[in-house]
Symmetry: C2
């Protein structure tokens, strides 16, 4: 069984032909150019799909369904992007628009964070009855899979795990509240924390790292900490605590069989996961029953394509 | 169809005969006397059930199942209380023990907070596809019902909504962490907050209230605030914010169709619910899709009996 998954982002449209196990047979991407008319964006999505099919000698008739993952508030049931700031879309009937280009083909619509979560679940979830995926990126995204299905609440807007308070009245968050987990545990937050630490530690090797690498990134503090820089280690320790504390919250709520952490920073591997596991072991409310398995996600940018292809 | 629900608490054993709609035909309670041998407690549970049946002229054969709600960490699947501090129970095969007193009868075991949530869902949930119940009491308890079933995670220990951070490194919580929602939004916390406010406001009418009522309670600040006491109003405003902020978190995660707030303090009605709704309206991440209905629970102590009787 073959599917097409499309990951529509503010910068790129990525698409791939995906088999039922989550293998990508072929993928490519084109620029979104989000400022242009939506019809043109949908045309390019359709052209990309057709090109991938042609290059693999696959007929559209052999495609079970086309899944589309989109940012913003997505009304999966009605096939509408209710609002997507970085795509300039509001009440956009994107499923119908894409369906017009593929008459008779089933088109599925999903929020991009949920699609990515489903991709990780499909490939790395091992059929877990309950599964949570956390992405640490520009924001903190989440996705929850219960009994093989995305949990999204009655209105489809749930699983916003990053938008839960970590510090009441704390740092401002993009959502309009203060103190959300996202405002402490995103890579955006880590960069802010790194810059603040550099300001108060003029001798830190982080300054040299930035000279060599052009700018502060989510890797600055981790790289320098690994080389023994104390100020960098303090940044990492604090950041890990922010991440881990939110993960304890998530586990106390969902007690998922498996929880995977994704986003570029999950490449830090055990350097990130080890302390998180230790923190969770210490503070998890559950002391008497089996424990959630915590691991790193593996699909990175492919998760959205695979999840869009395979989710319901 | 008739059921028996038992709510086993540290102080009392309450039980009732419940019909399939959640009506209690007859109920009563006896002291738990938690320090005595478990066999004696189970004997008293069984006697209480038999007495209720006799008083209503109902045969045990007409009872579909007996449900038992217990505090602590409950392994529903295996019918075991893994750990219950206030019952001095550890790895107690309570389902088997109660089953021995009612041969052939189906016995169900549930965590007490989950049982109460299921009771509120059964009676007040209106068949919502997603439903959350929050109790503000000694602690902050939670229960989540998805597609008509309690959500408890893979190990049965989930839905500990009160044990999620509101203030990182904040007030100590009974669970061993600091800054949990429970440490700010429970009635225990409200009493602590009220006492602190009284210490710094010697002229507050709260002092007179306490003289008249014997001790500080969850009602002290609410009653005095309603009569125009400013220090009391500040306590209520802060407390409502603590409660409401955690409810925003819960909604951002679950986006339940209905969320009910229970515990004695929910008797404050709109005085509590109005400001909570306002806060949620302002800070809910979901701006474009239908909104969660927020209301007060109605069953109070009966919720546990009804939920134990009717949950799976």
């Amino acid at each position: 069984m073959l599917y097409i998954g499309i990951d529509l982002g503010g910068t790129n449209i990525a698409a791939g032909i995906v088999d039922e196990k989550g293998n990508i047979l072929k993928k490519d991407s084109v620029p979104t150019l989000a400022e242009r008319p939506i019809e043109e964006i949908v045309n390019d999505m359709a052209s990309l799909c057709r090109r991938l099919l042609a290059e693999e000698n696959i007929s559209i008739d052999d495609i079970e369904a086309i899944g589309l993952g989109c940012p913003g508030t997505v009304d999966s049931q009605n096939g509408i992007i209710a609002y997507a700031n970085n795509l300039k879309m509001k009440n956009t009937p994107i499923r119908e628009m894409l369906g017009d280009r593929f008459p008779g083909k089933r088109i599925k619509l999903e929020n991009d964070a949920n699609a990515a979560a489903f991709g990780e679940y499909a490939v790395n979830g091992g059929g877990a009855g309950s599964f949570v995926f956390i992405t640490l990126g520009t924001g903190v995204g989440g996705g929850v899979i219960i009994d093989g299905k995305l949990y999204k609440g009655f209105n489809g807007a749930g699983a916003e795990l990053g938008h839960t308070t970590l510090v009441l009245d704390g740092e401002p968050c993009s959502c309009g509240r203060n103190g959300c987990w996202e405002a402490y545990a995103s890579v955006t937050a880590l960069i802010r924390q790194t810059k603040a630490a550099m300001d108060s530690a003029p001798d830190s090797s982080m300054h040299r790292w930035v000279e060599e690498n052009g700018k502060v990134s989510g890797r600055t503090a981790f790289d320098c900490a690994r080389n023994g820089d104390k100020a960098a280690q303090a940044v990492v320790d604090n950041y890990v605590k922010y991440v881990a504390d939110g993960i304890v919250d998530t586990i106390n709520i969902f007690q998922p069989e498996t929880l995977l952490i994704g986003g570029g920073i999950s490449k830090e591997g055990e350097y990130l996961l080890g302390p998180i596991r230790e923190y969770v072991e210490k503070y998890d409310y559950n002391k008497y029953m089996p424990k959630t398995k915590i691991g790193a996600a593996t699909l990175f940018n492919d998760a959205g394509i695979i999840g869009a292809a395979l989710s319901e």
